[in-house]
Each structure stands twice: as structure tokens, then as C-alpha cells.
């Protein structure tokens, strides 16, 4: 039997990229790091109590008293177990990865919805991105960007982007055909169609995608910690490697709390857009 040297080909390909596109990766690293650092600095700058109040008020306005109290209590628990600063690091990583995933993902989803050919090409790539175990693209990520939060962010973006692309595509394609026809018949340009009809009607679906993307980014924090991203993932990871059951548990709980708060708040945004339409 002949062994297909798939691994060697891939290595050669990565080496080729590394040798020829290093300046590009360096520039990219600089840009992405700038985004993460700015978000990090900003979130660290806000005193813990103020952030808790802001998040609680936001949750209360979007959903109700229950979610407001839940968010405040949850975040206070994180503060009280001394994981506030780690939580902020993680939050910054999640926000910047999500931000970049949306900046790339939403336009890509729109393009897919408007062009069947694009959809046919992009769909298998998305499948690939989602099913390939995340550890696998950590390695090339480290080769291109070195250790630290940068490769973590890149791995997170790759892993977390597919849902928002898919759901943007789906949402736009699900806009009823006669509504699109009506907009066309009144002389909409394709830009007007997109901004005035398709995106607003697809918004609940797109927001569901945003929610998924945030959740998936959060699920990457421990994996990113393996290549040197700091934050709650690091706490969990050191708990695991040093058999510190208590520390690991605290880190895990903090991740769960953060996940619940982010999930409920983004979901509340989605339901509100929905409600406006049908009320």
C-alpha cells in the first residue's frame, strides 16, 4: 500500500507560507494585537464595580430584572474569587475574536446569499473549519504568529466564524421571495434591497449567529491557553496540569458564568429585534 504523504505536503505548504508571506503575517499580527490590546486596556480601565453595574443595567434594560440581578451576582462571584483580571483578559480575547469574526463573516455571508457559486465554494470550507479539531490549527498559528494571545485569537476566529457566516447566508435567503419582489418592483437598487429589506429581515437570524460565535469563542479559551493566551483558560489549564482541583474549578465556574451572561444578553438582543417585527 502506498502511503499518501499528506502531512508532508501540508508542512511544505506551511513552510512556503512562512518563508514568503512573513511580512504579511507580521503586519496582521500587529493589527490584530492592537485591537485586542485596546479592548483589554479599556476593560481594565473600568473599575470592577462600574463594569458590574453597566452590565447589570444593560441586561435589565434588554431583558428584565431577573437577568439584571443574575448578571450582577455572577460577575460579583468572579470578582470575589479573585479572577477579575483573568476574566477581563478572556473577555477581551472573546470580544476581539468575535469582532473580527463578524467583520469577516457577515460580509462573507451576504456574498454567499447573493451568489450561488460563492455559496457552493464557501460551504465546504466552513464545514472544514468547524470539524477540524481546533488543536490542529493551533500549530500553524504558532508558527506564523509565535506564542501568546495572537495565535489564540486566530484559532478562535477560525473556529468561531462559521456560524455567523452560515446564519447570515440563511437569514438573507429566508427573506420571503414576494417581499424581495415587491422591493424590486418599486425600483430598489441591490444596495437598497440589502440595507432596507434583506438585512433588517434577516437580523434575528444574524444575531443568532452572533450569539453562536460568541459562545464558540468562549469555548476556545482553554485551548488558546495552551499556546500562551492568558486569562481564565490559563487558570483552568494550570489547575489541570498541577492537579489543583480547587483552582481549576474556580476558573471553570468563571467561564460558565461569563458564558451564561454573554449568552443571555445577546439572546435578549435577538428577541427584541424579533418582537419589534411581530408586536
Amino acid at each position: 500500500m502506498i502511503r499518501l504523504p499528506l502531512g508532508e505536503y501540508f508542512e511544505a505548504f506551511i513552510d512556503l507560507l512562512k518563508d514568503n508571506f512573513d511580512p504579511f503575517f507580521k503586519g496582521m499580527k500587529k493589527g490584530v494585537l492592537a485591537i485586542i490590546d485596546h479592548i483589554e486596556d479599556f476593560l481594565h480601565f473600568i473599575p470592577w464595580w462600574l463594569l458590574i453595574i453597566l452590565v447589570a443595567v444593560l441586561a435589565w434594560r434588554l431583558s428584565g430584572k431577573k437577568l439584571g440581578i443574575l448578571s450582577a451576582v455572577g460577575l460579583y462571584i468572579i470578582y470575589s474569587i479573585d479572577l477579575w483580571s483573568e476574566m477581563i483578559d478572556t473577555l477581551s480575547l472573546v470580544f476581539s475574536a468575535t469582532f473580527l469574526a463578524l467583520v469577516i463573516g457577515i460580509p462573507l455571508g451576504i456574498w454567499m446569499a447573493k451568489n450561488d457559486m460563492t455559496e457552493r465554494i464557501v460551504k465546504p470550507i466552513l464545514d472544514f473549519m468547524q470539524t477540524m479539531p481546533a488543536f490542529v490549527y493551533l500549530i500553524p498559528s504558532v508558527i506564523f504568529f509565535g506564542l501568546g494571545k495572537m495565535p489564540g485569537a486566530i484559532a478562535t476566529i477560525i473556529f468561531a466564524m462559521p456560524p455567523v457566516v452560515r446564519l447570515t447566508n440563511l437569514g438573507i435567503r429566508q427573506v420571503p421571495e414576494d417581499v424581495v419582489e415587491a422591493a424590486t418592483s418599486f425600483g430598489s437598487t441591490s444596495g437598497q434591497m440589502l440595507l432596507k429589506v434583506q438585512i433588517p429581515l434577516a437580523m434575528p437570524t444574524i444575531l443568532a449567529g452572533v450569539n453562536q460565535t460568541i459562545m464558540l469563542s468562549l469555548s476556545m479559551v482553554v485551548i488558546s491557553a495552551m499556546i500562551g493566551a492568558r486569562g481564565l483558560g490559563e487558570v483552568v489549564l494550570s489547575g489541570v496540569t498541577q492537579m489543583q482541583i480547587g483552582d481549576g474549578f474556580e476558573g471553570g465556574i468563571a467561564v460558565v458564568i461569563l458564558a451564561i451572561v454573554l449568552d443571555r444578553i445577546t439572546q435578549a438582543v435577538g428577541t427584541r429585534t424579533n418582537a419589534k417585527k411581530t408586536s
Partner: protein, 398 residues
């Protein structure tokens, strides 16, 4: 020149329609074409004119190509071949910019399932056509309010479509089409999704609106009663071919083929035929200055027992019966004024026979058909109401 002119229009579905076009022009059948090239025929050589201010109804069963046809008129569907003139401008093969302007300024459309924008308020829906033309917000909202008032929806401007009933939603659809002040309205089964009572109400309202606005309306329906009620002219389609074009009366009285005949078989003629279709010229009339003797002589000449009296301008004054005339003569009267009976039944020419039937049964005298200034146009005797309703069936029984 007509407002809309369609010349040799073809729409062929499926792969490489241009290749199938010559075959269709040679008259290949639907089944053969599907087998040979895999194409389907949407529209097969449609030709018609729509005059300004006319309601032109295209009717046919589902799959007859009527929806395809109406969508070709604003190129929501791209025709395969042919010409479509809107105000003398051929929009087949015109530039995108021209097409956009035609859609914005000249043609507006109303859809079967309303197709409102669920995320916009009623007023924002109605203003959409103006919004894409970049009309400033205050102006377009003002026009939207005006259009909503026209369709009787004042007070619902800030509601969302989902809060309205089906009939009201379609009023929004209609207002949205009116707001752009386009001359041509395309109505695609606009009332088919409504329940029967609301549908009738909307039909009446459309007719009333049309009286005021004089738009050019192209109306698609599968309901013959609806077509006959609102259409000035009707085109009947079958398998992509326009089988017959004519006024409702022409279609009822002279169906072009068995297909149309089958269609109109169950039509309630009493609802469709109007007084003016069955009225006849009065056999004799007298004017006021004619005396009783003249009236009697005229009645004797044509063998009738009553005669209508008009003035110089043919304005209806009343009726005189032969019995009254004889009595009056015996008393020595000579003027008609003394014996004229003013209590006669009148109608206008647009009244359907159905509404005339009770009167026709009750009255002793013929019914007078008059115009709005009481001018006598014709008369209807009881038997012509019945003959009109029976129509063709009566003839075929002979």
C-alpha cells in the same frame, strides 16, 4: 398610442431558451418541447394594447402564464423575446438605469399575498417607493398619509402590518402602489387571498378609486366573476397563449373557443349584464306638446298600451297609458299634462340585471333607462330582462 403595448412576447423557461424559441414559433406543443429540449413555455406570442385609464384584466387558471405575463411588464421576469412598450418606450433590453426609473415612476405593483415589509410601520411601507427615490422623509411620509387616507386606513399609519387584518393589509399594499403616483398599476391576484365578503368590498372600492384616479390597471385573476365585474376588457389565457381579448359582454356573447365557453358556462349572467346591454330603443315616444290624440295614434301604430313622455331635450317626464288617454278624451281633455303618470321605474345603464329583476317583476310598465340628467336612453320590457339572463342558453335551445 396605447399606454402599454405588448408585441410578440415570449417567455421560455429552462436551459438555453433562445435555442428553443424557433421551435416555439413554429408551434411545437408543450409536451414535445419538454421532451426535445427540456424547456417549458411560459408565454407564447402575447399581443395586446392597454389603453390609458382602462382596467385590463388578464384571467386564466393557475399555470396559464398570467403571473409570468404581469411580471414581464416590469421585468421581474426577463422575457425571452418580444417588445413591451410603456409610454412608447421599449423596456425589453433597455439599460438597468432606464428600467429602474420605469419601476420607480411609471409602474407600481400590488401582490397576491400583500408582500408588505414586516419590519416597517404601515406608513413606512407605503413610503417605500418614495424612499428608494430619495424623496426627503417629511415629504414622503406626508404622501404616505395621503395614500392611506385614500384607501381608508387613516389612523393605522404607525401600526405594523402584522397588527392588521388581511383586507387591511392589502389596502396598505394598494396605498404603497398609489403613493409613487405611477400611472400604471399591476395587480397580481390582488384580492384572491381575501375572504369573499372583503374581496367584494375591495373590488367595489377599486372601481370607486379608479373613477377618481383614472390609472391604467392591469389586473390578474383566476376568478371570472371578478374579471367580469371590474374589467373594462378581459384577456383570457390558456397555456401561455392569449385566447381571447374583449369586453365582458363580448366574451359572454361570443366566446372564441370551447375553452372560453367552458369558462363562462357557470357565469351568473344576471350579475354581469347591465341594463344598457338589454335595453332597446323605445318603439315610440311623445313630447309634452303633443296632445293626447297624437299619443293615442302612436300607441295604436306600434301596438303598445303605454308610451313614455319626454320634453324637447328628451328629458323623461312620465308615462301615459291608453286607458287614461281614452278616459281623458271622453272628458274632453286634450293636454297630456293632465293624465301623465310620473310614478315610473327608472334605472341607469350600469345597473346589473340581477338588481333589476325585482322591479321588472313588480312593475306594470316598461323600465326607463336614463342617464344622470334624466335623459331617456332606452326602455327595458320584462321579457328582455329574462332573455338577457338566459342569453346563449336560450339561443342554443332553439
Amino acid at each position: 398610442m396605447a399606454k402599454v403595448t405588448v408585441k410578440s412576447l415570449y417567455k421560455i423557461y429552462g436551459p438555453r431558451p433562445q435555442k428553443a424559441l424557433p421551435l416555439v414559433k413554429q408551434g411545437i406543443s408543450k409536451e414535445e418541447l419538454l421532451k426535445k429540449t427540456g424547456n417549458g413555455i411560459g408565454i407564447n406570442d402575447a399581443n395586446f394594447d392597454v389603453e390609458e385609464g382602462e382596467i385590463f384584466v388578464v384571467m386564466g387558471l393557475s399555470g396559464s402564464g398570467k403571473s409570468t405575463l404581469i411580471r414581464c411588464l416590469n421585468r421581474l421576469i426577463e422575457p425571452t423575446a418580444g417588445e413591451i412598450y410603456i409610454d412608447d418606450q421599449n423596456i425589453v433590453g433597455c439599460s438597468d438605469e432606464v428600467l429602474l426609473q420605469v419601476r420607480r415612476k411609471k409602474i407600481a405593483m400590488v401582490f397576491q399575498h400583500f408582500a408588505l415589509f414586516p419590519h416597517r410601520t404601515v406608513a413606512e411601507n407605503v413610503a417605500y417607493g418614495l424612499e428608494v427615490q430619495k424623496v426627503p422623509p417629511t415629504e414622503r411620509i406626508k404622501k404616505a398619509y395621503e395614500a392611506l387616507e385614500m384607501v381608508g386606513l387613516s389612523g393605522y399609519e404607525e401600526s405594523f402590518p402584522s397588527e392588521l387584518s388581511g383586507g387591511m393589509q392589502q389596502r396598505v399594499g394598494l396605498a404603497r402602489a398609489l403613493a409613487t403616483e405611477a400611472d400604471i398599476l399591476l395587480m397580481d391576484e390582488a384580492f384572491s387571498a381575501l375572504d369573499p365578503l372583503i374581496r367584494t368590498e375591495m373590488q367595489d372600492e377599486l372601481i370607486a378609486l379608479q373613477e377618481r384616479m383614472k390609472k391604467t390597471i392591469i389586473f390578474i385573476t383566476h376568478d371570472l366573476d371578478e374579471a367580469l365585474k371590474i374589467g373594462d376588457r378581459i384577456a383570457i389565457m390558456k397555456e401561455g397563449v392569449v385566447v381571447q381579448i374583449g369586453t365582458p359582454e363580448e366574451i359572454l356573447d361570443h366566446p372564441a373557443d370551447d375553452y372560453v365557453r367552458a369558462f363562462i358556462k357557470d357565469v351568473n349572467r344576471a350579475k354581469v349584464l347591465t341594463a344598457s346591454a338589454v335595453m332597446k330603443k323605445p318603439d315610440g315616444i311623445v313630447t309634452l306638446k303633443d296632445g293626447i290624440r297624437v299619443a293615442m295614434r302612436k300607441m295604436e301604430e306600434v301596438g303598445i298600451s303605454s308610451i313614455f313622455v319626454v320634453d324637447k331635450a328628451r328629458i323623461l317626464q312620465g308615462i301615459v297609458t291608453i286607458d287614461d288617454a281614452i278616459d281623458a278624451l271622453k272628458r274632453g281633455e286634450t293636454s297630456l299634462q293632465a293624465i301623465i303618470n310620473k310614478e315610473i321605474e327608472t334605472t341607469d345603464g350600469d345597473t346589473p340585471l340581477l338588481d333589476l329583476m325585482p322591479t321588472a317583476i313588480k312593475t306594470k310598465y316598461p323600465i326607463a333607462v336614463i342617464n344622470e340628467s334624466n335623459r331617456l336612453l332606452g326602455i327595458i320590457v320584462r321579457v328582455s330582462v329574462l332573455a338577457g339572463i338566459l342569453g346563449e342558453e336560450a339561443e342554443s335551445n332553439d
